[in-house]
Symmetry: C2
Subunit: 526 residues, 2 copies
Amino acid sequence: MVDNKEIIIYDSTLRDGAQAGGISYTLEDKLKIVDRLDKFGVKFIEAGNPGSNVKDQEFFARVKKMKLKNAKLIAFGSTRRVGISVKDDPNIQSLIAADTEAVAIFGKSWDFHVKEVLKTTEDENLQMIYDTIKYLKSLGKYVVFDAEHFFDGYKNNKKYALETLKVANEAGADSLDLCDTNGGTFPMDIYNITKEVVEMFPGTLIGIHCHNDTGMAVANSIMAVLAGARQVQGTINGYGERCGNADLITLIPNLQLKLGFKCVPDENIKHLTSLSRYVAEIANMIPNERAPYVGAYAFTHKAGMHIDAVKKNPASFEHIDPEIVGNTRRIVLSEVAGRSTVLDKIREIDPTVTKDSPITKEIIDELKRLENEGYQFESAEASFEMLIRKKLGLYQPFFTLKEFKVLINEPAVEYSSSAIVKIAVDGVTAITAAEGDGPVHALDSALRKALEKFYPELKEVHLVDYKVRVLNAETATAAKVRVLIESTDGKDTWTTVGVSTDIVNASWIALVDSLEYKLCKEKVGK
Amino acid sequence: MVDNKEIIIYDSTLRDGAQAGGISYTLEDKLKIVDRLDKFGVKFIEAGNPGSNVKDQEFFARVKKMKLKNAKLIAFGSTRRVGISVKDDPNIQSLIAADTEAVAIFGKSWDFHVKEVLKTTEDENLQMIYDTIKYLKSLGKYVVFDAEHFFDGYKNNKKYALETLKVANEAGADSLDLCDTNGGTFPMDIYNITKEVVEMFPGTLIGIHCHNDTGMAVANSIMAVLAGARQVQGTINGYGERCGNADLITLIPNLQLKLGFKCVPDENIKHLTSLSRYVAEIANMIPNERAPYVGAYAFTHKAGMHIDAVKKNPASFEHIDPEIVGNTRRIVLSEVAGRSTVLDKIREIDPTVTKDSPITKEIIDELKRLENEGYQFESAEASFEMLIRKKLGLYQPFFTLKEFKVLINEPAVEYSSSAIVKIAVDGVTAITAAEGDGPVHALDSALRKALEKFYPELKEVHLVDYKVRVLNAETATAAKVRVLIESTDGKDTWTTVGVSTDIVNASWIALVDSLEYKLCKEKVGK
């Protein structure tokens, strides 16, 4: 078993991951995630706890109709309750009603929990584990045994913790999964304890389930694999109760690209970044920009000397080629990026500019001034390009704003907001009005209505993302806000930025930059 | 040395941390952080790279005037350039001009970098290391040698990597700090290689500096300490180039609370949470809610059975007492939290309600409906309390909104926005107007102006935080937004929430909840 390099990836994004603070999936969300996980190639999808959650019961009814290619679904539940028979336990019955080929049963391995939480005897707990697994095996289920708090249990009462595994094994469990439920165990201990268990149950599949309360979940999972565990539980982006679970998005490339194990088909590793962002989007969590492998900053170089070295040879400051995991290299614009990065951007527009041209210093100074005001061009390269064009005299205003007014009314009749925009193009004035859900929506609609008369190509442009960041929140409703707008014309995608104490004004700045960028691209060429 | 349990904490928040994407410190920011780090008890504060950054030169001039209690400041720079003498190297001269007692010098330990980036010979690189350290020692400096890419170098050309350390040691370096610059090394390798170095240089202080590109920075730092390293480099919240550095906020309690090492005075461990949030605030980064020890969710329990167990005994699902690190336990409201948590909240207001009262189900259903709409009560308990009061019939409206209008004008004269609010209190109508920076500010001012006539106690209420989250960004400017408002009356602090497709309306909902919560507290009592 231990010579085998195949790792069974056991995903719990939809169960332990759904217990994360701030996360709440709809039934449709869960079905979408199941589909993506299956395509990615995980072997087990632990998708809910039908005993504790009505929504999960509906989910299992719906998910049955999906045809999965790679994964088996797992319904999750606890051992039978104290003092009743398995058949009379409503949670066990909902587990069976979920009608999955495989189930996971968690049982207590820490004597402290048996006493303090279950309030029963050590023997009854062993019997609960045995009865539950034996019963589910008699129904033909594939049974995973989650030894809850196994490592804490081992440290407190080694004999009893191991006894719970033995009982589960005798009852016919298909794997014994060791859980560091409170996340307080360290790598060397995980290694030594897992090794002892692997040696104690030759031929039995041993799994690992780590929590991140001390920041060790991924490292601990790796140590368990090195000690012989061959099933790894975790979640996409590490979501989960408290500080979360082992992050499969870090763990899978670590095991597969670095340590020679096989977790998912090789050709799927390039989907890691999109999988991570897809789940973050559905979970409505802000993606971690600094996440290993997949974060927006994971292959982003900011310090001047790093940038210079990466230009000479990317391996100098990159542990892998970002394309392997579907990510991209980025060189950011900022005061520590150094002159040469800014110069490269300028020369993309005007190749005659050199580092000693006065305009180079002028642009760098303007960049610094705007960064001090709260602008960030790291993710708003279209706005930065417009700034350079303006400084180089390569910008012609496509329109002039005369004025806009937005009126918000409560109670609302149909839409809460209406906007009037007055612009001029080549001396011709246009005044338009539009309604919208909120002031920014109304203003966006009115501006487009006005401009599309003159520039029909703007009809292709759609906004795909709109982000608001409050900058100095301590002044509350008068705080500065930064708005980022991502736009597309179906071919390209670009991001623009606006900063103001007024969210409508900040949105306006970013909106105008976006539309002018598109017009520049069309009229002037790039 | 290795028997010694004292760890020297070497903070690089203001140097490597400032190279993080999205972070840009002002000079004042840096001075504030130096003060906090010094009070917290770190031994070294690597605060800038005066050779590459003019702002850092000003910073060192200013910071000299501060009286530090615990920490020594470090100016950071590279070995002399290829082919020139140390005295002629402008970077080395700026390093000296920084006038710190201690300096850190990074030099290349990976032959690949010597060839590909420096484009020089292996011998010249050794000479550069030697000359630079020797010169700085001759000026009486305390010199840290950062062996850049040491682990990659060791794996590629062990003999040469070790040679760079020997040369630095011979030149008089006070410590040899092994850097996993690309963050691609795994715990067992870190342990074995560090151990070899520790044994090779008995009596010399060995340091470790890890990057997080494979999620291993904290685990790797711990393994290095177990192997005998006694100086640990890292940053607050793990900020740094790409995926960041070893996170001192996780590493310090791991070493000090769990593994018996001594990093900072014991009495300062309770400031970990506030230190983490303080630096996040200054860096203007969203705090990681799932951060070990200090995250808002680190001791937050959501699943029903976890909540029940924690009520019986907190140790059941908590690896430490949250108060030790200055954090707090939270039980959240959500569909998986189970009836008993919601019931506890209801019974705080009306102790006669039981789990079988029809009102309990009604409130849970309403909670679920609102969560589906995008509300989140996890961090908005005041709004949840208002919801319960309304359902229980214990709510009397303190005022009735007749209408509000907000007008936004561009170009603005003084303020961009003005608002008119018309309300009624006990049949008396009041109509007020106010201006503001943006629509929400204007509306907030007008509403308060109207209400303070009737309820002077509202003068005590101030907003302390205002957060905007775009919920379904794919519909861009017509997306739903969730607004969280944190308010205080000087004694208590409470958070309210509003959701709408219109940011002004969402803000209005949260604002009204906040003011009514205050009035409830005063009039009805709690």
